[in-house]
């Protein structure tokens, strides 16, 4: 047969070869069917490890307790025992190395997350003692009168 008939076929074969080679280079070697089968498990397994390596920011009260046992014990014997340190003090990260100091959130809005009075009878919120931040001493920080680690105690005063 004449050459002009075969020539397009060579071109097609060349394109197919090029696609296969680029795919081989671009697709990671471990890409394939995981434990959940083709429909739900078609993925790059090394990505699971990448997600596991995300840094932990909130280290929990167990971490805080190691150096601040007196603070930990105080709040655990108070009506605020259920609140974790990092909710108000912010994530510990690698404290005390980095950051050296944690910034405490002393804003009224933080306390109002729970103690802004909402009359919701069918929710746990309705059972929490609350105030209206607009009328309840709006010029003061809550910690002036209320000690957050044990709300039964008095606050900082001015």
């Amino acid at each position: 047969m004449k050459n002009h008939v075969w020539r397009p076929l060579y071109v097609v074969l060349l394109v197919i070869a090029a696609v296969l080679v680029t795919r081989k280079i671009l697709v990671p070697a471990d890409f394939g069917i995981g434990s959940r089968g083709y429909m739900y498990g078609w993925h790059r397994p090394s990505n699971e490890q990448e997600w596991k390596e995300v840094s932990v920011k909130y280290r929990t009260a167990e971490y805080c307790k190691q150096c601040h046992p007196e603070k930990y014990n105080e709040i655990k014997q108070s009506p605020h025992a259920n609140i974790n340190c990092e909710n108000c003090h912010g994530p510990a990260l690698n404290h005390p190395d980095d950051p050296k100091v944690l910034t405490v959130d002393r804003r009224r809005e933080l306390c109002a997350r729970c103690h802004f009075r909402l009359e919701y009878p069918t929710s746990g919120r309705g059972k929490i003692r609350g105030i209206n931040p607009k009328t309840h001493h709006p010029e003061l920080e809550c910690v002036t009168c209320h000690w957050p680690h044990d709300p039964r105690k008095e606050g900082h005063k001015i």
Binding site: Y40, N47, W51, V56, Y58, E86, R113, L118, Y120
Partner: protein
């Protein structure tokens, strides 16, 4: 002289006879049987939300955004809390300002476009808060629609997104009936709750569970019959969201009512 036929017969008999005592050595462990009943996997993460306990403080949302590096001021979040206020005229008012990142700072319902609807306390029939997060479905529609294999389910049931592989087509965002997926404002790829995979794989709890002061959020392994979460799911009246979609969601709710969508 032993014949070929009788040799084969006798050796088969001996082999069979030896196999019987071997199999009888293995005792049935009901717990292992329970765990292997379905697929033999040891871990399947599930979530339990108690809507009776949630007070709408939003500490979970705050912790989640920080822990998972979702930009704090962008109006997207992996988990959020919805407020439901059912009034005496039969209407249901639902809002979740900023996903309740700062809790609920007003009695008025946020109806969008900067408008608020004031509701008088005496008009309220019932009012409660419902935390929402990824359901880590057993039949995840978001995974089925991914054209490139960038989102997938791990062996322990968590649906993850491969940030290097996602092309940002947004099929999964549209495919999720629970609206838990969004685009990450920094990486510009699909983003979703992954039960804090870096924490649960280290034996910790998720950031939202640790931040919750009221025990409204709990995470557990449904394959472990001794897990307190498994015990509650097996013995109490739990419900799931949008069961009719057939997605087999694995976030269970206590105290769910028909108003919750």
């Amino acid at each position: 002289m032993i014949s070929r036929r009788s040799f084969c017969k006798k050796s088969l008999l001996i082999a069979g006879g030896l196999a019987i005592p071997f199999s009888s050595l293995e005792l049935f462990d009901p717990r292992r049987l329970e765990a292997e009943k379905n697929d033999g996997k040891k871990v399947r993460w599930v979530f339990l939300v108690d809507t009776n306990k949630c007070v709408g403080c939003g500490f979970c949302v705050k912790a989640c955004k920080t822990e998972n590096e979702v930009p704090y001021d962008a109006n997207v979040t992996r988990t959020w809390v919805e407020r439901y206020v059912v009034t005496k005229d039969g209407k249901t008012h639902i809002d979740s300002p900023k996903g309740a990142r700062d809790g609920f700072e007003t009695t008025a319902i946020d109806i969008g476009e900067g408008k608020f609807e004031e509701i008088r306390n005496e008009d309220i029939d019932k009012a409660f808060f419902v935390p929402k997060l990824c359901n880590q479905c057993d039949n995840p529609p978001c995974v089925q629609v991914c054209p490139v294999g960038a989102t997938y389910q791990t062996e322990d049931g968590v649906v993850l997104v491969d940030r290097k592989w996602c092309i940002g087509c947004g099929y999964c965002v549209m495919g999720c009936p629970y609206g838990v997926r969004f685009f990450h404002p920094v990486y510009h790829v699909a983003e979703k709750c992954n039960f804090c995979y870096h924490r649960i794989s280290k034996g910790m709890k998720t950031a939202c569970v640790d931040a919750c002061a009221f025990g409204a959020r709990r995470i557990g392994n449904i394959k472990d019959p001794d897990d307190p979460v498994t015990k509650i799911i097996m013995t109490e009246r739990v419900n799931v969201l949008k069961e009719e979609y057939g997605t087999k969601p694995q976030v269970f709710y206590l105290g769910l009512t028909k108003e919750v969508r």
